[in-house]
């Protein structure tokens, strides 16, 4: 049933609002849902900091994530395809990847600011780091786990190495590539907001907005902002899924 999925969140909201109205929840720490909605209205009309409206913050954040994720995809997918194809390359590059992967993107922030300053380049770099590894690893996995049957069928049709790469490995790993992209963009989005906490040259960005709401002591706007971040993350994922189903019609 479609409506069943709304039962849980709605009941939580109702209970929460009830408890807040009764004063059982401290209003200065946990604003009521109603206050949060008003806070959302303020974000849209007045802005946080005042004068910086929500839609501009969203625009800047999306722009940063697109840049960082774009680079991650453009480097991760080809490298992943090559590494999936050549076990030798995997052996050479793999250890370095495994060394860098566990370092949380946020730990790179001081270095990123040192190298790239406090503008979009350092934000894009942090997001790139978050998105790159899922894209790379899922692409590699997509290639490596292709049913060997398809490789054999191609060989019996006298396919060259190049043919196998372009006509079998590449199309065959597209589902995994999409999985990697969805995970990568999700991590990139989460990382972005945290990356924007520290120094944003343009004065716009959802993370920056939330930090400012914290500075100006507006927990209602903080929570409204968090909600916006969650919704956008959801929409991005949804959008990718739609792309995926358009491109992959063969399942």
């Amino acid at each position: 049933m479609r409506w069943e999925r709304y039962i849980l969140p709605l009941s939580i909201l109702l209970v929460w609002q009830g408890l807040s109205s009764l004063g059982a929840i401290p209003g200065h720490l946990v604003p009521s849902p109603y206050k949060i909605i008003l806070g959302f209205k303020d974000l849209v009309t007045i802005g946080m900091p005042p004068g910086h409206l929500l839609h501009d913050h969203i625009r800047y954040s999306l722009y940063r994530v697109a840049a960082g994720f774009g680079i991650a995809a453009l480097t991760g997918i080809p490298l992943g395809l090559l590494m999936g194809w050549s076990s030798r390359l995997r052996g050479m590059v793999g250890p370095l990847i495994e060394l860098l992967r566990p370092i949380p993107p946020l730990a790179w922030i001081p270095i990123a600011i040192l190298w790239f300053g406090i503008g979009i380049k350092s934000a894009a770099f942090i997001i790139f780091l978050g998105a790159f590894f899922p894209v790379l690893l899922n692409t590699i996995s997509g290639v490596v786990s292709i049913n060997p049957l398809f490789l054999e069928a191609a060989k019996t049709l006298n396919a060259s190495e190049k043919d196998i790469f372009l006509k079998v490995l590449l199309p065959g790993s597209i589902p995994s590539i999409f999985v990697g992209m969805r995970i990568g963009v999700g991590i990139g989005w989460m990382t972005l907001v945290a990356a924007e906490f520290t120094g944003v040259k343009a004065g716009y960005g959802l993370g920056y907005m939330i930090m400012t709401a914290r500075d100006i002591q507006r927990p209602d706007e903080i929570l409204a902002g968090m909600f916006v971040i969650g919704v956008i993350g959801l929409l991005i994922n949804w959008g990718l899924r739609i792309c995926e189903s358009r491109i992959i019609r063969w399942r």
């Binding site: 398809f150 054999e152 069928a153 191609a154 060989k155 049709l157 006298n158 396919a159």
Partner: protein
């Protein structure tokens, strides 16, 4: 094609498990030959070696007097699991080999459409494999192989995943196609009825390590009646041979 002789002897596997031992045979051009044998005896391995997917530990294969040049000569292989590329439509699967060869688009499509029609796939050419029935998928696979005009057609239990009714239909289908074209076919099966119905010759392989234990000439005239006395006689003979093999193995 005057004939193929395989003189071959093999020990293979990392643990030195002998699978095929000194297979020698000659197949004449245009004949339909079945390979039959107890399960796991290595008939698939033999087929894969001929196809070029695996290497023999020793021995050589000759095609019309010369050794096979893999990569130039085309040895077709039809898989039991069809092995159709799921991201390609039926038509695109059929033209895959031509695409690899570099045949220009127009010609490719023309040839592929002919096969679509000839194999009864009209209306389904733009469907993806997962949308097709087992029988149709196998027909696509066969078309994909035959469109290349291979020197040799290998089939590895191609109808094994089909229900018996479809299976019978496919057997008639392949006979029809073969009779029109005259390809040389090596057909692996474990189904004696099938082998008797289809083949000019049946080669029985022994248990592992497999050698050729016996070869039967099926000179029943075609079209064959599955239930005829002659067919039955051959069936009995082959089954008997197989039983012997099992007993020897203990």
């Amino acid at each position: 094609m005057s004939g193929i002789s395989k003189s071959y002897g093999g020990e293979r596997g990392g643990e030195r498990v002998p699978v095929l031992k000194d297979i020698r045979y000659r197949i004449d051009h245009g004949k339909f030959v079945s390979l039959i044998g107890p399960s796991g005896c290595g008939k698939t391995t033999l087929l894969r070696i001929i196809a070029g997917l695996e290497k023999a530990s020793s021995g050589r294969l000759f095609l019309e007097g010369r050794e096979i040049a893999y990569g130039k000569d085309l040895i077709g292989l039809v898989f039991q699991e069809y092995a159709l590329f799921p991201w390609r439509t039926a038509l695109q699967n059929i033209e895959m080999g031509l695409e690899i060869m570099g045949v220009p688009r127009r010609q490719r499509l023309g040839a592929a459409i002919e096969y679509v029609r000839g194999f009864g796939l009209s209306g389904f050419e733009n469907r993806y494999p997962h949308e097709l029935s087992g029988g149709m998928q196998q027909r696509v696979a066969i078309a994909r192989t035959l469109i290349m005009k291979p020197r040799l057609v290998l089939m590895d239990e191609p109808f094994g995943s089909l229900d018996s009714q479809t299976r019978n239909e496919m057997q008639e289908f392949i006979l029809q196609v073969w009779q029109q074209r005259g390809d040389t076919i090596i057909f692996v099966t474990h189904n004696v009825d099938e082998a008797v119905f289809l083949s000019d010759r049946i080669v029985v392989l022994s248990r592992r390590p497999a050698t050729i234990s016996r070869s039967f000439e099926i000179d029943c005239p075609r079209p064959r009646d599955r239930t005829s006395l002659e067919c039955n006689a051959f069936r009995r003979a082959v089954l008997e041979e197989l039983r012997k093999e099992r007993k020897i193995g203990g």
